[in-house]
C-alpha cells in the first residue's frame, strides 16, 4: 500500500490574514512539501498540471526533476497529466527522461482537464476531450513500447520512423493511472490497458466513486488482466487534524468556507458527512480511511490533498508530520490485516521490471516446450 500527497498547486489567499504567496514562494513551498513527504516516511508525491492562474504547475517534470534529485525513495507522480492538450510525443519524451533521472521512481496519472479555454489555447476542442484522451494515450503507449513508430491519427501530425528518446528505463514504460470523476469511457480505457484507476474521492460522495471503481474492476477482469480484486485502484482523500478535534474544526473552518472549489456552499459539517473530508483528531482520520477498503475493496494507493485553499506552509508541514507519524503507520497495519495475498502491492518500477522478466521467462519456457 502506497501513501502520499497530491497537490493542485493553487496560489490562494490565506483567508485568515489576507496574505497571498507569490508564485515563486508557492513553487518553493511545493518543493519543500514534497521533500517532507519522504521525510515522514510516505511513498508518493503527485503534482497537478495546469495552464491557467491561480495554479502554478505548468511544467511538472521540471519540478519533479528537482524533487527527484532531493529525495531517495519518494515515488514521483502526477495528478493529473493532461493527455488531451499535451502532445503525446512530448509526454513520452518528458516522462521517460524523468524516469531515467529519478532511477525509475516515476509514474503518471492521466486526466483530461476541465478548464474550457485551455483546450483552444493548445489548439484543441474540449468537445473532443474523450477522443483526444483515447487516441493520444494509444500513441503514448506505442511510443514507449516500440522503438520505431509509424503512426497516423486524427489529432496530430503523422509520424514516420519516429523514435521517442530516451527509451524507457530498463525497457519498461512508467506505470500509468487514469483519473476520472464520472466518465465510464476512461474507466474502460484503464481496464483495457490493465492500468490503474484513480478516483479523486474529494468532491463527490464516496458512493459515486464506489460505482465507478466497481465498474473498472469488473472491466479489468473482463480484459484478462487478473481478477476484479486485483485491479489497481487509487483514492484521493482530504483531512485536517489537531489533537483535539474541535481545534481542528475551528482552525480549518475559514479555509474551508473560502476554498476556491467548494467555499460559500455547504457547511464544513455537511461536506465532511457527504465526502471523505475528515476534520478532527488523527484517530478520526484513521477510522475514516481505514474503512475505505470496505467500500472500495483492497487498494494500492491513498493520496491526501493537504496544501490547498491558502493554508500556510508551516501548517501544511505540521499536517504532513501528523499524517506521516500518527496516521499512516496505523493505516499501513490496518490495510495489511486480512489483505488477500494475491492482491498486488502498489506498482513500482521494480515490480514492473519483475513482471516483464517473468512474462519473458514464461514465453521462453513455452517456446522450449514447443521445441
Amino acid at each position: 500500500m502506497q501513501f502520499g500527497i497530491f497537490t493542485v498547486g493553487d496560489v490562494t489567499t490565506d483567508p485568515t490574514n489576507g496574505s497571498t504567496p507569490t508564485e515563486h514562494q508557492r513553487i518553493k513551498n511545493i518543493l519543500t512539501i514534497a521533500q517532507k513527504v519522504e521525510e515522514v516516511g510516505m511513498d508518493v508525491f503527485a503534482l497537478g498540471e495546469h495552464h491557467n492562474p491561480p495554479f502554478i504547475p505548468s511544467s511538472p517534470t521540471t519540478m519533479l526533476g528537482y524533487i527527484a534529485a532531493k529525495t531517495e525513495k519518494l515515488l514521483l507522480s502526477t495528478a493529473t497529466t493532461l493527455i488531451t492538450t499535451n502532445d503525446p510525443v512530448k509526454i513520452a519524451e518528458d516522462y521517460a527522461m524523468l524516469q531515467h533521472v529519478a532511477d525509475g521512481r516515476v509514474d503518471l496519472m492521466m486526466g483530461r482537464g476541465n478548464t474550457g479555454p485551455v483546450y483552444p489555447w493548445f489548439g484543441k476542442d474540449i468537445r473532443e476531450g474523450i477522443p483526444l484522451a483515447i487516441e493520444n494515450y494509444a500513441l503514448l503507449q506505442r511510443l514507449w513500447k516500440e522503438d520505431v513508430v509509424d503512426w497516423s491519427g486524427k489529432f496530430r501530425t503523422p509520424l514516420q520512423g519516429f523514435t521517442s528518446t530516451p527509451r524507457p528505463l530498463d525497457g519498461v514504460a512508467p506505470f500509468v493511472w487514469h483519473g476520472s470523476i464520472r466518465t465510464p469511457e476512461i474507466a474502460e480505457q484503464a481496464a483495457f490497458y490493465g492500468d490503474g484507476f484513480f478516483a479523486n474521492n474529494i468532491f463527490w460522495p464516496k458512493e459515486h466513486y464506489m460505482r465507478l471503481i466497481g465498474y473498472y474492476r469488473q472491466r479489468f477482469e473482463h480484459y484478462g488482466h487478473g481478477t476484479a480484486s486485483q485491479a489497481i485502484v487509487g483514492l484521493g482523500g482530504q483531512a485536517f487534524m489537531r489533537k483535539n478535534s474541535q481545534d481542528a474544526v475551528n482552525e480549518f473552518r475559514p479555509y474551508f468556507d473560502n476554498a476556491p472549489v467548494y467555499g460559500h456552499g455547504p457547511t464544513l459539517e455537511e461536506f465532511a458527512e457527504q465526502t471523505p473530508l475528515t476534520v478532527g483528531s488523527p484517530q478520526q482520520v484513521i477510522d475514516r480511511y481505514a474503512s475505505m477498503r470496505e467500500y472500495f475493496g483492497d487498494y494500492q494507493r491513498q493520496l491526501f490533498l493537504m496544501d490547498h485553499a491558502g493554508l500556510p506552509l508551516t501548517t501544511v508541514l505540521e499536517q504532513i508530520d501528523i499524517l506521516g507519524e500518527e496516521v499512516v503507520p496505523v493505516l499501513r497495519k490496518e490495510f495489511a490485516k486480512n489483505r488477500p495475498a494475491d492482491v498486488p502491492a502498489g506498482p513500482t518500477h521494480e515490480s514492473l521490471v519483475a513482471a516483464r522478466d517473468a512474462s519473458l521467462l514464461a514465453a521462453d519456457l513455452i517456446k522450449a516446450e514447443v521445441k
Binding site: P131, A138, S152, K154, Q189, G265, P266, F271
Partner: protein
C-alpha cells in the same frame, strides 16, 4: 392494473403559494384522467423552496446532496412532469432554473412535461411560450401543447365564464399530459450509468495505427 408515476415541481416561494395551488390542480386533473382510463398513478410533489440550499450547494460544488440526488432521480425517471413556476421579471424564477441547471442535460429526454406558471397579472402569460417551452425543448422533453398560466384574477373566474377559463385550461392540459403518460415506460426503464457510447473503442475509433 397499470401504474404510472408523475412528478410535480412547484417553484413558488411563499407559503401557501398559488404556484403550488396550480400545481396541485394540474396534478389532480391528470390523475383523474388516468384513473378514468384505469391507470393508477402515484405522485411525487417537490416544493423547490425546501431544496433551495441543496440546489445552490450543488451549483457550487458540482455534486448533489443525498437528499437532492434522491429527488432528482425521482423527477428524471418519472412518466410525466408537471412543472410550475412563478414568473419573476419576465421569466421562470431563478430557483426553478437553478434546479433545471443541476439536472444532467440528457436526463429528461423524452419526458412528457406540462408547463404551468403563475403571476400577478395576465401580461406575463407568454413567458410560458418564450421561456418555459424552449427550456424543456432544449432538454428534449416532450412539452404538451397547452401550457397553463394562472394570474391572480383567474382564481376568481368560474368555469362557465368563458371557454378559456382556468379550469378549462387545466382540463385540456391534463388531458394532453395524461395521453402521453399513459404510454410512457420511463419509470420502468433500468438506466445503465456506465453505458458506453455506440462504437466506443478504448484504443480509438479514427483509424489511428
Amino acid at each position: 392494473m397499470t401504474t404510472r408515476r408523475i412528478a410535480v415541481l412547484s417553484a413558488g416561494l411563499s407559503q401557501p403559494s398559488s404556484t403550488r395551488l396550480l400545481a396541485d390542480r394540474l396534478a389532480q386533473a391528470t390523475l383523474d384522467r388516468l384513473a378514468h382510463d384505469g391507470i393508477e398513478t402515484t405522485v411525487d410533489t417537490v416544493e423547490l423552496r425546501d431544496l433551495a440550499h441543496d440546489v445552490t450547494n450543488n451549483l457550487l460544488t458540482g455534486f448533489a446532496s443525498p437528499r437532492l440526488e434522491a429527488i432528482v432521480e425521482r423527477v428524471t425517471s418519472a412518466d410525466g412532469l408537471i412543472a410550475v413556476t412563478p414568473i419573476y421579471t419576465t421569466s421562470y424564477s431563478g430557483l426553478f432554473k437553478s434546479f433545471v441547471d443541476v439536472l444532467d442535460p440528457q436526463a429528461i429526454t423524452g419526458l412528457p412535461v406540462l408547463i404551468g406558471a403563475t403571476g400577478g397579472s395576465e401580461r406575463h402569460s407568454l413567458a410560458l411560450d418564450y421561456a418555459m417551452r424552449p427550456l424543456f425543448s432544449y432538454l428534449h422533453a416532450v412539452v404538451v401543447p397547452t401550457g397553463v398560466y394562472a394570474a391572480s384574477g383567474d382564481w376568481g373566474t368560474g368555469a362557465d365564464a368563458s371557454a378559456s377559463a382556468l379550469p378549462d385550461r387545466i382540463e385540456r392540459a391534463a388531458g394532453e399530459l395524461a395521453a402521453l403518460v399513459r404510454h410512457s415506460d420511463r419509470s420502468e426503464i433500468v438506466r445503465d450509468p456506465f453505458a458506453l457510447p455506440a462504437g466506443f473503442s478504448p484504443v480509438g475509433a479514427f483509424g489511428a495505427q
